[in-house]
Amino acid sequence: MASDKVNKSTSEPLMVQITITFLGVAFLFLIIGMPLVAVFVEAFSKGFKAYIEGINEEYAISAIKLTLLVAAISVPLNLVFGIAASWAIAKFDFVGKRLLITFIDLPFSVSPVISGLIYVLLFGVHSALGEWLIDNDIQIIFAVPGIVLATVFVTFPFIARELIPLMEEQGVEEEEAAILLGASGWQTFWQVTLPNIKWGLLYGVLLCNARAMGEFGAVSVVSGHIKGETNTIPLHVEILYNEYNFVAAFAVASILSLLALITLMLKRAIEKHTSAERG
C-alpha cells in the first residue's frame, strides 16, 4: 500500500486541484458552452412567436428540405463506400494498403473552401467538361448535384475510418469459418460481419450525417445561393444573418444546434454500449 507521503506526491495539493478544475470548467463554459447558450437565447429573444415565424417560412422550409435531400443522398453513398473500403482493407493484405488509407483520409485535411473550389473548376463554365454540360443543358455547379458532390467529398472518410480499425481488430477468423462452412459471400457479410460492426457503422453514419447537414464552406462555394433552390440550412442562416434578420438566423441555427446536441447524445450512448460490450 502506498504511504501517505507517496499519495501526496502522486496527486496535487487540494488548492491546486481546485484551481485547475475551476480554470478548466470556466474555460469550457466560456469557449464552448456560451456560444451554444447564445444561439437559443438569441433565437427566443423576441419571443416564441418570432421564433416560429423565423422557421415556419417558405425559404427556411425549402432549405430544410434541401438539407435533408442532400444528406439522404450523400450519407448512403459514403456508407456503401465505407463498407467496401473497409472490407478490402481490413480483411485482405495487399500492396499499397497504407497509401490507400492516407488517400481516404485526404478530404479531412483539405480546407472546406478548396473542397468546393475543385468542383467549380471541374464542372464550371471555364472547363471543357463545363462547356459540354452547358451545351447539353446539364447543371451541376450552382445546383443540387454540385451541393451533393461537395457534401460527399467533405464527409467521404467518416464511415470508412470508423470501420477500418474496428474490422482490422476483429480479424478474419469468423468470416473464414462461415465461408468454410459453406456460406456465400453475401451471407457471410450480412450474418457474420454486419452484426459485428453495427455499432461502429452507426457511429460513423451519425458523424457523417451531422457533417453532411452542417457543412458550410464547401457547399457555400458551389451553391450559387439561390433562395428556395440551392440554399441548405447553414447557407440560409448566413443569408438571414447578413440581412440583419438576427432572430430568424438564430432560430434556424437552433435547429442545427439541436441536431448537434442529439448527435452528441447518441454518440455517447453508442460509446457506452460498445465499452459495455467489450467489458
Binding site: I31, P35, A38, E42, V113, I118, L121, F156, G185, A253
Partner: protein, 280 residues
C-alpha cells in the same frame, strides 16, 4: 524473387476485387480527379504569374493572419486542452460527464452556427464584447475574434488526442518517481510531460491544420477587412466571386501543399506516439 510477388495475399474470403475496385473507382471520381484538377488549372498560369499571385501584398497579409492566428490558437489549445484533459482524467467533480461531453461540441456544431453565435457574444454590443468595449478592446471584427473562433474549433483535437494517453498512463511510474524523492512538479515535468508530449504535439498539429483551413466559424466574426482580418480561405472565395479562377486556384494550391505537409507531420507524430506507448 519477383516470381513470388503477389499483389494480394491469398484468402478464402470473397469480394476483394469488387470491394477494392469500387473503393478505387469512388476514390478517383470523388477525390483524386477533382483534386488533381487544381494542379492542372494552376498549370495554365506561367511561373512568374503564379509567383506574383501567391506573393501579392493582399495574399501575404492573409497568410500572416491565417498562420499567425492558427498558431496562437493551437498554442492556447495545447495549454488549456492539457488543463481540461488533466481535470477530466485525474479529478472527480460534479457534472464531470457533462463537461466531458461538452468538449465534443465543436466537432458536432455546424461552423456557421458557431460563427454567428461567437459574433453575438464578442461583438462590441455583445454579451462578452460589451465589457471589453469600454476598455478599448475590440474582439469581434479583429484578428482577436478570429483567434477565439479558432480556439473554439481546435480544442477537441487536443483533448481527444491527449485524453487516452493520460488515461492509460500507469500510476506506478509516478509512484516510483515520488518514492525516489521527486516532488509533484518534478514528477510532472520529468515523468508525465515527456510521456504525453507526442500526443500533445499531435493535438497541436491537428488543431493548427484545422485552423488554417477553417472558414465558416471565422468569416462572421472576422470582419474580413483586407490586410487586417482577412484569412486565406476567405481570399480564395473572394477571388472566385471576382471570377479570378486562376488566382483562387493558385492560392488554393499553396494551402493544399501546406495541408499535405501538416498531414505528413501528423502521421509521423502519431507513429512516434504509438512507438512511445508500446515501449512504455
Amino acid at each position: 524473387m519477383y516470381k513470388n510477388f503477389r499483389f494480394v495475399k491469398p484468402s478464402v474470403l470473397p469480394g476483394f476485387k469488387l470491394a477494392l475496385g469500387f473503393t478505387l473507382a469512388y476514390l478517383l471520381i470523388i477525390v483524386l480527379i477533382p483534386l488533381s484538377g487544381l494542379f492542372f488549372k494552376t498549370a495554365t498560369l506561367t511561373w512568374p504569374q503564379f509567383w506574383e499571385t501567391i506573393t501579392s501584398d493582399r495574399v501575404m497579409h492573409a497568410y500572416y493572419i491565417s498562420f499567425g492566428t492558427s498558431f496562437l490558437a493551437a498554442v492556447i489549445n495545447v495549454i488549456f486542452g492539457l488543463l481540461v484533459t488533466w481535470m477530466l482524467v485525474r479529478y472527480d467533480f460534479p457534472l464531470k460527464k457533462f463537461f466531458d461531453a461538452m468538449v465534443d461540441l465543436p466537432f458536432a456544431l455546424p461552423t456557421a452556427v458557431a460563427g454567428i453565435a461567437l459574433t453575438a457574444l464578442y461583438a462590441p454590443n455583445g454579451w462578452i464584447g460589451k465589457y471589453f468595449e469600454p476598455l478599448g478592446i475590440k474582439i469581434a471584427f479583429t484578428p482577436l475574434g478570429i483567434l477565439i473562433a479558432l480556439v473554439f474549433i481546435g480544442l477537441p483535437f487536443v483533448v481527444r488526442t491527449v485524453q487516452p494517453v493520460l488515461e492509460d498512463m500507469e500510476k506506478e511510474l509516478e509512484e516510483a518517481a515520488a518514492s525516489l524523492g521527486a516532488n509533484r512538479w518534478q514528477t510532472f515535468t520529468r515523468i508525465i510531460l515527456p510521456h504525453i508530449l507526442p500526443a500533445l504535439m499531435t493535438g497541436f498539429a491537428m488543431s493548427f491544420a484545422r485552423a488554417l483551413g477553417e472558414y465558416g466559424s471565422v468569416i462572421f466574426i472576422a470582419g474580413n477587412m483586407p490586410g487586417v482580418s482577412e484569412i486565406v480561405p476567405l481570399l480564395i472565395v473572394v477571388k472566385l466571386e471576382q471570377y479570378d479562377y486562376a488566382g483562387a486556384t493558385a492560392i488554393a494550391v499553396v494551402m493544399l501543399i501546406v495541408s499535405f505537409i501538416m498531414l505528413f507531420a501528423i502521421n509521423m507524430l502519431q507513429k512516434w506516439s504509438q512507438t512511445r506507448i508500446s515501449r512504455g
